[in-house]
């Protein structure tokens, strides 16, 4: 505990912000998840919402410096279309897999965004899906899916052949309640953001309960509806503590290390926008974007709705080859990047 203060201060530090809000094209619109190819191409999955035009649902391709490579996917029920897209992941061939928690299927695209196939059937039997959301590949290149409304994790081959599943509804050890994000560590252990139970659960590669971390609350090491989890090469556990509007870092055995609340700055795209909208840029410059306010309630959601630099809807986490953490924020339509403070 004596070193906690030091680590709290030093473990992660802010680097930059990527992206901005746009309904179409170069930008994001309610991003739910992000992944990166081996070449550094970033894929951001925008969910949009029910009443919006279908082309606002999309996957935006870019790199960290803001170079834009186009979009693919749209709203609908046809091939390559989505209703409630939720999770995105790449396999070792850089094929892009996207879950849809309304259509109960997984759509597969090539690296350029050309549709290949989709698989998955709605239902509760083994191999069927009810609200698939979080998605991650294990070391064997099989795909793990948080089958959220069946309260279980299912493993499939990349072609959608069922392999195994674990988890049932409940709050006991190994039980799940609307699981969302998934992570896999170097040993193949599976980490589940057990959303409805406000905790992270750790399972062996074959789905046996290993450990649980956290409980409901807003204190250090506690969670409120965690949505995402990822583990770095040293075993540190990063948690998108969605309902607390923060990211928490846990040590390899689950001990609390650090909380970050967000410190976004203008992205390349934001600067581009403000550069040509000088009136808005001027008013923004004159505004106090960190006002001292008496909030309506003590929910961090409220504070985040007022203070733009803070995380608002931190939903998913991604690590790049340099061990930098990319935090996708649904409500702020951007990604904040943090790195290890060595």
């Amino acid at each position: 505990m004596a070193t906690k203060g030091l680590e709290q201060r030093q473990f992660l530090r802010y680097v930059r912000t990527v992206g901005m809000t746009t309904m179409r094209g170069r930008g994001f619109y309610y991003p739910m998840d992000t992944t990166m190819s081996s070449s550094g191409r970033i894929y951001v999955l925008s969910r949009s919402f029910e009443r919006a035009p279908s082309d606002t649902i999309r996957i935006t391709m870019l790199n960290e410096d803001g170079d834009y490579f186009g979009v693919f996917g749209s709203g609908g029920i046809g091939n390559g279309q989505f209703r409630w897209p939720c999770g995105i992941a790449l396999n070792d061939q850089n094929r892009v897999f996207v879950t849809d928690e309304y259509l109960n299927r997984v759509s597969v695209f090539n690296e350029s965004g050309e549709f290949i196939k989709h698989w998955g059937t709605g239902g509760k039997n083994e191999g069927m899906l009810n609200g698939p959301c979080g998605i991650v590949f294990d070391q064997d290149n099989n795909v793990l899916i948080a089958d959220s409304q069946n309260h279980r994790i299912q493993k499939f081959t990349g072609d959608g052949q069922f392999i195994s599943s674990f988890g049932v509804y409940g709050n006991g050890d190994g039980r799940l309640n609307l699981p969302w994000g998934l992570g896999v560590n170097q040993e193949g252990e599976i980490f589940v953001a057990d959303w409805g139970n406000d905790r992270i659960q750790r399972f062996s590669p074959d789905g046996k309960f290993v450990a649980k971390y956290g409980s409901s609350g807003r204190q250090e090491g506690e969670f409120m509806r965690p949505a995402g989890v990822i583990i770095n090469q040293e075993g540190y556990i990063y948690v998108a503590d969605w309902g607390n509007e923060r990211v928490q870092v846990l040590g390899p055995d689950g001990e609390f290390v650090q909380t970050i609340r967000g410190e976004a700055t203008n992205s390349e795209w934001a600067d581009d926008f403000l550069g040509v909208n000088v009136e808005e840029a001027g008013a923004r410059k004159r505004a106090n974007l960190e006002p001292d306010i008496e909030y309506f309630n003590d929910d961090p959601h409220e504070e985040s709705s007022h203070i733009e630099k803070l995380f608002w809807g931190p939903v998913s986490l991604m690590l790049d080859a340099k061990d930098r953490l990319f935090i996708t924020e649904t409500n702020r339509h951007r990604i904040q990047v943090y790195e290890r403070n060595n």
């Binding site: 009443r51 409630w84 934001a270 974007l289 006002p291 309506f296 809807g313 649904t330």
Partner: protein, 479 residues
Amino acid sequence: MPERQIELIAHLARRAGFGATREELEEYGKIGYEGTVDKLLETSSPQWMSEYLIRRYHPDESSMLAGLSGLEAWLYRMITTDTPLLEKMTLFWHGIFATGYPKVLNAKPLSDQIRMFKKYAMGDFRHLLVEMARDPAMIIWLDNQQNHKDAINENFGRELLELFSMGVGNYTEDDVKECARAFTGWTIGNCEYMELRSARDSDWPYGRISWHYQFDAQDHDDGEKEFLGRKGNFNGEDIVEIICEQEATARFIARHIYHFFVADEPPVPQWPYQSPRDPEAIDQIVQAYFDSNYDIRAVMKFVFNSDFFKSEDCWYEKVKSPAELVTGVMRLTESVDRPKYEHSSRQLRMQYMGQTLSNPPSVEGWDGGTTWIDTGALVERMNFASEELGKLETPGSKELFDKIAFEGNGDVEAGRIIDICLKHLGTINVKDDTRSKLVNYASKNGVIRVVDQEIDELGKEKIAGVVKLIASTPEFQRA
């Protein structure tokens, strides 16, 4: 408990909420009418569908980029709440302090305003008025950000007196000006930037930023004012205090309460020229207002326990607003237990019926009453209720089938089917003529047979047909 007593509680449930299932009514029956009033008035810890669930599946209900975001979440709350009166009171105040999207152009502060109404809906009327005056959406809606110490803008001050508290004829033009002076400096933070973003409907670069109230002391006129015959260095809170002391205010609010909860009054602009439908009832509500020191909860308790409210003369006299109809129907289906993709369309159906919440037709809100009914709206209302209540697979429908199957094996007589369905849909007391037509319809469609405590699919479809027809009756469409 006598059936008539259950029917009276059903009337209360329709007016103080969105109707109730037969099971809920029988539970209420155990504590009696007055006990039910007390239970409905107990709103200290309301429960509804988890906000986290709503935000997870409908992210636009969280950060609200779209024009009318926030309404789906409100509909979820109304459908799933265990304290329906609180939502009903929120609708009530929203109708009076009507604030709309076309000018505010930002769904988040509008949604925040609804949240504020809910918090203060059933407390001290003074607190509600002060919070309403501080509400960022209201400030922009009525231009109070342009109400300056050296150049007043009367818009908010005028509407505060005319539409929000006293009504025309009870104050002078000088009172309007003095009232406006007292509210100078009541503005929103970062006003220039927030107004500019709204004007451009800009959600760039990073989505909406919530608005917050800000008092600008430098821009506040703290000089002496004369308002409604009183003199002093009044600020906004002082003005609200004086307003709440006025009998005109009590009468104005009493008439609104009567109109919304008891029986239709003419549109507000006609009030100065047309007497209330029941002047004695208005007098009594005014007395309750002063006796309780402006406590709205106490006023509502008085109203719901009054003879004029309980009188059968006013049962089914009010046309349900689209919000009330959609909410009531969905509560009867018992099918809304978690967010669904299709939910968005229900909110749209409400709009097709003529009511878009947070988008009233004018600063005077909705007239209500029979203005909800025109040919198109009536068809939409009947279609919606029939479609939702006629679905065979909802928990509500399954309960109905079980109730009919409980009659025992054999043919179930058409009149009995109608009685069970009417009770199931909230204990609706239809006119004899209506009942005869319903029975006739049920008879024509052949018998419904129970075999081994089960009804076959054809029988279920026949029952659904009866339910659809009941949903189209005047009694179901009214409260």
